[in-house]
């Protein structure tokens, strides 16, 4: 008598990595508890808002760097237009509330050489680093060792940028141009939304001319709506639009200070805001709170579905690009008054002209960054 063994086809169900889910949830709980002990529910809301953003970005695979690259190399505009959905939703709250409610303000910045140079350099770095400010956060949280390198050098670059910014500001510039200041809160909102429609039409026109798709994917539409709503939540909790990179600058300065560096002669660190941030707890800075939440949110979301950080380290060329890209992004973010989130999303959603200037210059910088990618063994796409 013969026997036959029939083995059922193996179906590997997604399995949570409970160690990292626990670390992410526990870390978030600790931060929330610490700020609640200080009697700061708004700070707890910022941590939880960041956590939600980390989950949303990771699940939607929402990437500014990749969508800009797809537009520049293949003409596909869906990702870029998906990013505009975030801004349109955020603007619905930011423009009128920042104008009408005391205690709230938009993301504004002056126009000048510092903005132009900083945004351009950021765009170059974004394509080499493979992520922008928010992209770096959620991919670090998502388990990418390469992006740990990008983040480390982003932090170093932003401290260097803080030391350079005053001399670039001395080159001159124009005070912020805010739509609501000229048209009132509702006129400013209408102008902001109109500028987004014009941008979307231009992007769709370019995509169509190049024979490429311009419709955002389902992920980008749903992700864009969720991220836009979370941006509104962060705005109400923090009093300003969501920003990312100032937190990096504060972390870097605190680390350098603990190593013996003295910032008392650095002009940037004598301005009231940065001086206060350097002296106070890191949990007193709004951007740090959302940054921490975002890292742990992405970590929880990534570890909930698979074994966390289970990929090998990338080739050395890619790691070198991560380092160079990180430095350029950090330096560029300080000179350009932020990243895709603080300068572009926050700026445009506030009706501030600097957001569109930042976008144009960072897109130009991305063209250069894409051309440099092969030098590091990376594909242009």
């Amino acid at each position: 008598m013969s026997t036959a063994t029939i083995s059922a086809p193996s179906v590997v169900a997604p399995r949570a990595d409970y160690l990292f889910v626990s670390i992410a949830v526990l870390a978030t709980a600790i931060l929330v508890a610490l700020v609640l002990l200080d009697g700061q529910p708004a700070s707890a809301a910022l941590v939880l808002g960041g956590f939600g953003l980390g989950v949303a970005f990771l699940k939607a695979e929402f990437s500014y760097a990749a969508s800009w690259r797809r537009f520049l190399t293949r003409g596909e505009a869906g990702g870029l237009i998906g990013g505009l959905i975030v801004i349109a939703i955020a603007a619905l709250a930011v423009v009128p509330v920042a104008s009408l409610w005391p205690g709230y303000g938009g993301a504004i910045a002056p126009l000048g050489p510092s903005l132009i140079i900083g945004a351009f350099v950021f765009g170059v770095g974004m394509q080499l680093g493979n992520g922008c400010g928010s992209g770096t956060l959620y991919t670090v949280g998502g388990g990418s060792g390469r992006m740990l390198i990008t983040l480390a050098f982003f932090i170093i670059g932003s401290v260097l940028g803080s030391l350079s910014l005053p001399s670039f500001l001395a080159l001159g510039g124009v005070d912020p141009v805010l739509a609501a200041n000229y048209l009132g809160p509702w006129g400013g909102l209408a102008a902001t939304l109109a500028s987004l429609v014009v941008a979307a039409v231009i992007l769709a026109f370019v995509a169509k001319k190049r024979g490429a798709n311009f419709m955002p994917s389902r992920n980008y539409i749903i992700g864009g709506i969720v991220i836009g709503l979370l941006c509104i939540g962060v705005f109400f909790a923090g009093g300003h639009p969501w920003s990312v990179t100032f937190g990096y600058t504060v972390w870097g300065a605190k680390i350098f200070q603990s190593l013996g560096f003295d910032f008392s002669n650095a002009a940037f660190w004598q301005w009231p805001g940065p001086k206060h941030a350097l002296e106070q707890s890191v949990l007193s800075d709004t951007s740090s709170l959302t940054d921490f939440g975002m890292i742990f949110g992405a970590m929880a979301a990534a570890a909930a579905t698979k074994r966390f950080a289970n990929t090998p380290w990338p080739p050395i060329g890619s790691l070198l690009a991560a380092a160079v890209g990180g430095i350029l992004m950090g330096w560029g973010a300080r000179l350009g008054f932020g990243c895709n989130i603080g300068a572009f999303v926050g700026g445009v959603a506030s009706g501030s002209l600097h957001g569109w200037v930042w976008f144009a210059m960072a897109l130009a910088g991305s063209i250069v960054g894409i051309r440099l990618r092969p030098l590091f063994g990376m594909s242009r796409e």
Binding site: L19, F20, I23, A27, I30, L31, L34, V35, D38, Q40, A42, S43, L46, G105, A107, A109, P110, G112, G143, G145, S162, L165, L169, G173, D175, P176, G238, G239, H240, S243, F246, T249, K254, F268, W271, P272, G273, P274, H276, E279, Q280, S281, V282, L283, S284, D285, T286, L289, F292, M299, F308, A309, N310, T311, P312, W313, F337, G338, A343, G346
Partner: protein, 50 residues
């Protein structure tokens, strides 16, 4: 890479908690834009002020 992540994550958590416990923390969390004269998210002054 998992080991690196565990070390980096735990070091970061200890650093955050340590910095919070050893630094002053007065009132609500703020952004540099909340301070008088700030003209940018990092707290830079306006060109017209100079």
């Amino acid at each position: 890479m998992r080991k690196v992540y565990i070390v980096v994550t735990l070091a970061a958590i200890f650093a955050i908690v340590g910095n919070h416990l050893m630094s002053p923390s007065t009132g609500r969390a703020v952004s540099p834009e909340d301070f008088a004269g700030a003209c940018a998210p990092c707290g830079a002054p306006c060109p017209s002020v100079k």
